[in-house]
Amino acid sequence: MRMLAFDLPIVLHDISVFARNVAILDRVQLDLMPGAPTVVIGPNGAGKTTLLRVAMGLVAPAGGQVTWGGRSGVPPARRAIVFQRPVMLRRSAAANIEYALSSAGVARREWPARVEELLSIVGLSGLGARPARRLSGGEQQRLALARALARDPEVLFLDEPTASLDPAATKAIEDVIRAVAARNIKVVMSTHDLGEARRLAGEIVLMHRGRVLESTPVAQFFESPKSQEARRFIAGDLLV
């Protein structure tokens, strides 16, 4: 049963983040609304990861304000994130999920059923007893997804979830993302892969040098990109 405190929309208003006086995010303006997945694309160093961390509430911006459902300073109780290289806790796959359930305050008696359900959603049924660090890269990524879903999030951030995975593992992850989106969980993910963006996105956010250049529905982005950078990115040119 979902709680009624909504984190959406997430509004990033004039957000700036600096690292050693270099702007990682430069006056970013972005609204993340309920609905189909938002896919953040852009070259390395564009600020995609930092954008997700700010929207998750893990990085405090140097300038601007983030609001979740109209409120600021909301702890990440209804938000979850899967990092590009998720860290597996040194315990079994099932215990990794139990840890997330416990930290989300789920009653212990509910754990067995929830663990089974989450392992099933990510296609890891039967691997619950396996040490998490002994799973393959793709399996670890799916376990990280299950751990994030254990928090029953309203918004799920995914930082390049298929980077360095082979096509079969990528398809497995994309299937899970579609299943998650179908459960009315807002997915916000970053990727380098334009094909993946086209397959999954409802909305595309193009970033370059810490700025949001475009934020448009996916069909519009690919059919009539507004910016020169977007046209070059779609054409496969290198944005540096």
Partner: protein, 230 residues
């Protein structure tokens, strides 16, 4: 060869005097490691996970204290516990308790410094995940200690090794009294100076065997744990 044969005979016949010395040595070292763990582990975890002015100086000091000279520690504890010392009324000088105190002072910095490094390394790895899971500070510490448990076993072993092999501090505060405060290391020192090499060698054999056995057990536990827990 006569000395070696006599030494082996003492060990194999489980000579009661020798066994009493071995038992006392183990009790003192294990008590010291247990106390040092109770002190050193929370200190190491606290330094690893908090930021405060002078933190780097604390780390350097902890690391430096790993090399505390045992005789100096023995002297300091002696002065504390001697009749005219501030804790002289406790009547602990030349008792096993005084030896435990001295060894605890030697071992606690080792456990604190190595635990600090171990936990801090794991914290760098886990920080983002635990923040994303909205885990509170106490649970973070518990999680890090639990997940670093196999490495921390090695830390405890380093402490046990220091305690078991140490002679300088306990000979000063224990007095090497036969049947009361005589341990393997102090007995080896005494018997060697007296020329009773079989007993000294017998104790040496037992001491080395114990250290190897404890390390082998810890290694096995670590491998098994890693295999089943990841």
């Amino acid at each position: 060869m006569a000395h070696e044969a006599s030494a082996l005979q003492l060990v194999l016949s489980a000579d009661p005097a020798l066994m009493a010395i071995v038992w006392l040595s183990l009790m003192i070292s294990m008590a010291a490691v247990a106390l040092a763990t109770l002190i050193g582990l929370p200190v190491g975890a606290a330094v690893a996970l908090t930021r405060f002015p002078g933190r780097e100086a604390v780390i350097v000091t902890l690391n430096a204290l790993m090399g505390l000279p045992p005789v100096v520690v023995g002297l300091a504890v002696y002065l504390l516990l001697s009749r005219s010392g501030p804790l002289g009324s406790w009547g602990l000088l030349f008792t096993p308790k005084a030896m435990v105190i001295a060894q605890t002072i030697l071992v606690a910095p080792i456990i604190a410094a190595l635990a600090r490094q171990t936990i801090e390394d794991l914290w760098v790895e886990y920080r983002d995940e635990l923040a994303a899971l909205n885990v509170g500070p106490f649970r973070r510490v518990a999680t890090l200690i639990w997940d670093a448990r196999f490495s921390l076993i090695t830390v405890l072993l380093a402490g046990f090794g220091r305690a078991a092999a140490e002679v300088g501090a306990i000979i000063v505060v224990g007095g090497n009294i036969e049947g009361f405060t005589r341990t393997m290391t102090t007995a080896i020192a005494l018997e060697t100076s007296k020329g009773d090499l079989p007993l000294a060698m017998g104790l040496g054999i037992v001491l080395i065997t114990i250290v190897i056995l404890v390390n082998a057990l810890a290694w096995t536990a670590r491998r098994a744990g890693e295999r089943f827990a990841g």
